[in-house]
Symmetry: C2
Subunit: 237 residues, 2 copies
DNA sequence: GGAGTGTTTCGGCGCGGGCCGAATTGTGTT
DNA sequence: AACACAATTCGGCCCGCGCCGAAACACTCC
């Protein structure tokens, strides 16, 4: 028998700008050391340490120590889910500087979202795959249905998609893209696409943010793959 | 172009015990007047009013005035989603009194969850329907697949389920039950089941909480429908 | 119009907690 | 052993805000 659960506890943990910034920095599934998270949140190491301690006690993050660093990571997919659900409710943050605008446009173009790709590029990919019948139109937060596991685009990326997947995690899932306001490809396949793109050097993670950087080879490769002009792919300058 | 959204804003709104209590009270989709929400949260009307004002400015709730009452309601399904996602992360609240225990057991047995049914009874229903092949086993947060639209249990409830549904809302969805730790039936069908049960007087909403009260007729009707002994259905005393 | 009730606004109190600098612990490096 | 660096703990400051009582509105009903 379980009494009522208090929603306010995890919400209060997330509802603090510094902590929220750290959690969002971890949203792509990476493990980051305390110092880096302090910088990401714009607070002193002392403050960050206290916040991280609370987050860990509250079960939102997990620590793993390695040498003199302590790496923090989101403690599970449920945490990422909650953060995404809250992002949908979040107002737009004002752009304060040119630097912010740059960072914003880079993020808007391509960024990692937990373990898959988000942003303009992700939407382009999703659109092409949907239009060409690889899977049914995605719905935010829902499991998607695979229609053509042998779609050439997927094959070109070296992905052979099993028709039936044994794991509990859905092969295809719609994840709301909060820059584009439409669902993009997530789930197993979404993760596989991201790893394929990075492993062939088309996209590179940036050290400071979740933005993914499109390399020149990536630009040509993707233009060919998506059958569009290279100029259609913004390069965040 | 959209800059980064600040997750901490909605989270901070939810991350306050009084406000969280009011939001949870609204989780079943009802509209409640300010005074009732004040009681639900255990604060004075003055305090509740201030909280409700903040929630509304923050876009989590909507007001509609009717006479000298002001009815507040969650402003959308996204809000309910976020609350559910946070509930998964929430720790168990300690039971402080017998009164709490009573309320807890009533809630654990049957309660409304936004617009569908949750709790032990919901799990029983979901189990029977799954075992008998009405739909595939549910996964939390995912769209489910209908297998037998003409299942006798659904027919007995007067539900004729369209095989293809035109709306964007999925017919079947798995929703994590935080008392039972398994998914229960949500989506269009979940909502239809709840209305069917209440409209034939088997379940009655309680004025003060989300608990649903099983009537004697409901007890017999459901025992027959689920093909189990009436004693298997707890009556919250 | 006047009584009664639901709701909001205002003023003021007090606690919680976010913040930092300095000191401390623990772990690699030379 | 001595040093350097990451991370945490401690002490103290202070702002934000949650809370309530009293008063002001707003609306209904008589």
């Amino acid at each position: 028998m379980r009494a009522d659960a208090d929603v306010s506890v995890p919400a209060a943990l997330i509802g603090e700008p510094a902590r929220a910034a750290m959690l969002v920095a971890l949203l792509d599934g990476r493990s980051l050391p305390a110092g880096e998270l302090a910088r990401a949140a714009g607070v002193s190491p002392a403050t960050a340490s206290e916040h991280l301690s609370r987050l860990t006690v509250g079960g939102l993050t997990t620590v793993s120590r390695s040498g003199r660093h302590r790496y923090y990571t989101l403690s599970g997919r449920e945490v990422a889910r909650a953060l995404e659900a809250l992002q949908v409710l979040a107002p737009v943050r004002a752009v304060r500087s040119l630097r912010d605008a740059r960072a914003g446009s880079a993020l808007a173009f391509a960024r990692s979202c937990y373990d898959h790709l988000a942003g303009e590029l992700a939407i382009k990919l999703t659109d092409v795959l949907t239009r060409e019948g690889a899977f049914a139109p995605l719905v935010t937060g829902e499991k998607g249905t695979l229609l053509n596991a042998a779609h050439p685009l997927l094959a070109d990326l070296g992905l052979n998609v099993p028709v039936h997947n044994p794991s509990r995690r859905p092969m295809i899932r719609g994840c709301l893209d909060w820059t584009e306001r439409q669902p993009h490809l997530a789930g197993h396949l979404g993760a596989a696409v991201l790893t394929a793109l990075t492993s062939r050097g088309w996209l590179q993670p940036t050290p400071t943010s979740r933005a993914m950087c499109l390399t020149p080879e990536g630009r040509h490769g993707l233009a060919h793959l998506l059958d569009i002009d290279t100029t259609a792919l913004h390069l965040p300058s």
